[in-house]
């Protein structure tokens, strides 16, 4: 009877069998907590479920007054190991105020979050950057200026943002001693220094990003629209040979990058933005 029960039991065990090497690897090497900002699926905005969703401040009327929290979400591809490309979502965070003559918007850099996933959608950290505080301060000291049409909307093209480079028209160089390179974060290394999660280290680079803010929509407390971008970034050195490589960043086809501005009160700070950017822009109009 026992043998008969065994005969019945064993084949039915086949229904849910399967051996997953990844689960075994995670048992052997427990994965670290996924870093904030990882958004997983392609084209997924860096928004978090849960948390307190706040309405925009009422102190803004179009781009004519007030302070704005700005999020530039750039969907990109990067191939740190060659094809197939991985998905990189760059989220640049700024606080924006109007110039006194309302002809431009001054974007003060608050921070950048990067989310990297491989071609299967699995989060990866290989080559993933984080921006050290010294670089945040250095970039914040030179606000990104976006010219405005003056009608309360945002539409601008060819807005250049430089990291460690001088001269808006100059392309990013690979030569650390080129005249266009400067030690913007004043750490003694050429260009700017960006930390890398893995392999752990730092890379010295120059970067030139060019943004096209296309005509978007203006709703009370919000201003959002499509964002076109190109990134020209070159490594000038690194703390290890593994990192000393220039890997192109290209816009990801099929994903619409966006700019999002949300009206915030005057007491709102960069720290508030960096800590709350995943919930602050939830419910932003398209």
């Amino acid at each position: 009877m026992h043998a008969l029960a065994l005969l019945v039991l064993l084949p039915t065990a086949a229904c849910d069998w399967g051996e997953d090497g990844l689960a075994r690897l995670e048992q052997l090497h427990p994965p670290p907590a996924v870093p904030a900002g990882t958004n997983g699926a392609a084209c997924q905005m860096p928004d978090a479920d849960g948390g307190t969703v706040t309405a925009p401040d009422e102190g803004c009327l179009g781009l004519l007054s007030g302070q704005w929290a700005v999020r530039l979400v750039q969907f990109a591809n990067i191939s740190p190991l060659g094809p197939p490309p991985w998905n990189l979502t760059i989220t640049d965070l700024f606080l924006a105020q109007l110039s006194s003559d309302k002809s431009s918007l001054q974007l003060t850099f608050c921070g950048e979050e990067n989310a990297l996933t491989d071609d299967t959608g699995a989060p990866q950290t290989l080559g993933q950057n984080t921006i050290p505080p010294a670089l945040v301060s250095a970039l914040a000291a030179a606000p990104l200026v976006v010219p405005l049409p003056g009608d309360g909307t945002l539409q601008a093209s060819g807005v250049v943002w430089l990291w460690g480079l001088q001269g808006l028209a100059n392309p990013a160089t690979t030569e650390a001693d080129a005249g266009t390179v400067w030690d913007q974060d004043m750490d003694g290394n050429p260009g700017v220094t960006v930390d890398v999660i893995s392999p752990q280290g730092a890379i010295y680079l120059v970067k030139r990003a060019i943004f096209d803010f296309e005509q978007g929509s203006v709703t009370p407390g919000w201003l959002t629209g499509p964002l076109e971008f190109t990134v020209d970034q070159n490594a000038l050195g690194a703390t290890s040979a593994l990192l000393d490589a220039t890997v192109p960043i290209t816009p990801r086809s099929g994903c619409a990058s966006v700019y999002q501005l949300k009206c915030v009160d005057a007491a709102f700070t960069c720290d508030s933005l960096v800590q709350g950017y995943e919930t602050l822009f939830v419910n932003a109009p398209n």
């Binding site: 086949a14 690897l25 190991l81 290989l126 392999p199």
Partner: protein, 473 residues
């Protein structure tokens, strides 16, 4: 009643190549100097009871290490290493509980299927491949067998194997994972794991930025991840054999595990340092579960030149296996790659053969094999083979020349095993032979796991010359 039998076998081998070892240039030395003493005792304490015990005492004929400690020169296990095997130890009871039922229990070796060696239906015992020239050996295992003979033409067998035992592998097996370095110790090639070519390109890209002379690879460590011996890890086999005229037909079902290892996971641990970055490769292999539904037959055709035909075919329902490779730098994950290694889709393995004697002088056996006994339709896939074994006999069978040859039709690698056997006196044989492997030692595409040649890869072993003397009693 006692029946005592056995043999004594002295086996001396010499490596006749210098390129198939762990290090190029290593060869032309004795590789084996072995003595086996097999003692088999068959006891019949009652007409319906038989007990069988077969042990094998094996002396290796080399000291355990070239740099043996002087303090160990008293120690027989170091100076003259030996092993004791228990190849069989079982009791058989006839006509219990019914006159047409026999029971067996103990340590046994059970063979199912009709085709010699290559039967995909022969799964109850794993293979003992520790000596690749002794390729018919099996790993004995404890099991319970019920044999029923309800009619003269029908035999039923049921076997339960509580504990899974994996196959034993040849000493050359770790070379499948070995990294290759040049004379300066610089990395020249890393064996492709069972990932896609694109994924292996990613891996290559990861390390291509680093000077290969600055990488220090430890010997890869490959360990088994065996089942935990739960009830569901047991093996069960059922078989029916029907004898009709000259046709012997078998149907069988097996639930258990594949006896050869399948790649499961690998961890590459990178520890940056100066002047060298240390890299450790630790892999695990598993033995996937499977269900096998098979059919086999043997038939001798007197109307067709007395040719004997055999055939085995099995549909294998495998457990899916996902392979994962993780790269860790100082313990932090750097990159994870995942790829199905066994899809879980059913596949077929089959062997068909024919044999015929031509007078007293020549015997020929030919087989077609789809799926070698160590192949499981994983990332390496199933290859097709032909084997041809002519045996020439003269002097009333006292002198035999047997040439066993196998050709892999998929990658054209091959093995030839000629053996000249002289029966000096009844029960005393002297065999002079060679075991020669052919095929590329390097994969045709270093990024393709499946491109290693079956018999050419270094893991297949060495080319050997063999002198063997056997006395049986």
């Amino acid at each position: 009643m006692f029946d005592f039998s056995g043999y004594e076998m002295s086996d001396v081998r010499f490596d006749i190549d210098d390129y198939r070892g762990p290090t190029p240039g290593q060869g032309y030395t004795f590789s084996l100097n072995r003595n086996d003493v097999d003692l088999k005792l068959r006891i019949t304490p009652h007409p319906r009871v038989v007990g069988v015990v077969e042990t094998r005492l094996r002396f290796y004929g080399f000291v355990s290490s070239q740099t043996l400690a002087v303090a160990d020169l008293w120690d027989a296990s170091q100076v003259s290493p030996f092993t004791l095997y228990l190849d069989q130890a079982y009791v058989a009871v006839k006509s219990l509980p019914l006159s047409w039922i026999d029971l067996k229990a103990g340590r046994m070796q059970v063979t199912w299927g009709s085709a010699d060696i290559f039967s995909p239906n022969d799964n109850l015992n794993s293979r003992d491949f520790s000596d690749p020239l002794d390729y018919t050996r099996k790993v004995p295992n404890e099991m319970l067998e019920v044999d029923a003979y309800p009619t003269s033409w029908l035999t039923l067998n049921a076997v339960w194997v509580p504990i899974f035992q994996p196959s034993w592998l040849p000493p050359s097996a770790p070379l499948a994972f070995a990294v290759q370095q040049n004379a300066q110790g610089c990395l020249t090639q890393f064996p492709a794991p069972p990932l896609s070519v694109a994924q292996n390109q990613q891996l290559e890209g990861l390390f291509s930025a680093v000077n290969p002379c600055a990488l220090s690879f430890a010997n890869p460590s490959v360990t088994t991840y065996l089942p935990n011996n739960a009830l569901g890890d047991s093996q069960v086999g059922l078989r029916a054999r029907i004898a009709v005229g000259g046709l012997d037909l078998g149907l069988n079902y097996y639930y258990g595990r594949f006896g050869f290892p399948v790649a499961y996971d690998a961890s590459v641990s990178v520890t940056p340092g100066s002047p060298q970055t240390n890299i450790a490769y630790d892999a695990e292999v598993i033995y996937p579960r499977m269900q096998v539904a098979g059919l086999d037959f043997s038939y001798s055709a007197p109307w067709l030149f007395d040719i004997g035909f055999v055939g085995d075919a099995a549909v294998i329902f495998p457990e899916p296996v996902n392979f994962a490779l993780g790269i860790y730098e100082n313990g932090s994950p750097l990159l994870t790659l995942v790829q199905p290694n066994v899809s879980g889709q059913p596949f077929v393995k089959a062997t068909f053969g024919a044999e015929r004697s031509f007078g007293d002088f020549l015997y020929v056996n030919a087989m077609y094999i789809h799926g070698f006994f160590d192949e499981f339709d994983d990332a390496y896939g199933l290859h097709d083979y032909v084997s041809l074994t002519p045996e020439f006999k003269i002097l009333h069978d006292r002198l035999k020349l047997r040439i066993a040859a196998i050709l892999d039709l998929t990658d054209l690698s091959n093995v030839v095993y000629p053996q000249l056997t002289w029966t000096v006196l009844p029960s005393v044989e002297v065999m002079l032979g060679a075991f020669i492997l052919g095929g590329s030692t390097h994969p045709s595409n270093p990024l393709d796991y499946a491109s290693r040649s079956k018999f050419g890869q270094l893991a297949a072993g060495r080319d050997d010359a063999i002198l063997r003397v056997t006395i049986t009693w």
